[in-house]
Symmetry: C2
Subunit: 88 residues, 2 copies
């Protein structure tokens, strides 16, 4: 899997990321990983669900992983949850 | 699995739900399901991660499922993403 097959979820509207996911599949990707951290995790689930239900009926959720990442900031180190959703 | 082994995530602080999860295991549950909808999904991942990393080192994430639920409201029907995290 190359980096091209990863969609990172930020603060933009859900449909922006859905478009990115659908574009990856249209460009020949067999699998796409949707990655998010912190509050964007809820949006990542929306992106996966909207992509599958509206645009990619033959695509399934293959794997979902959650983990904890350490983030360095001005106020020191803190933990943030992260999630990866593999669809294909 | 009985209803007692489910922790529903709402808008309270993460540690409230972590306490609920840890209590279930201390009361003899072998598995606990953490359920959330919409924006609470991010918090559900925090609850699973904090529970495992700080309090339940032998507990693993066994399954994560995402789905879409239809919600009836005054303004009609709308879709909301939901997630279930099974740990044990």
């Amino acid at each position: 899997m190359t980096d091209d097959d990863v969609v990172y979820i930020g603060n933009k509207p859900v449909m922006n990321y859905v478009l990115a996911v659908v574009t990856q599949f249209n460009n020949g990707a067999s699998e796409v990983t949707i990655k998010a951290r912190g509050r964007a995790i809820s949006r990542a689930v929306d992106v996966a669900e909207v992509s599958r239900n509206r645009f990619l009926p033959n695509v399934e959720v293959k794997d979902i992983r959650i983990s904890t990442e350490k983030i360095e900031s001005d106020r020191g180190e803190s933990n943030v949850s992260s999630m990866e959703i593999l669809i294909g």
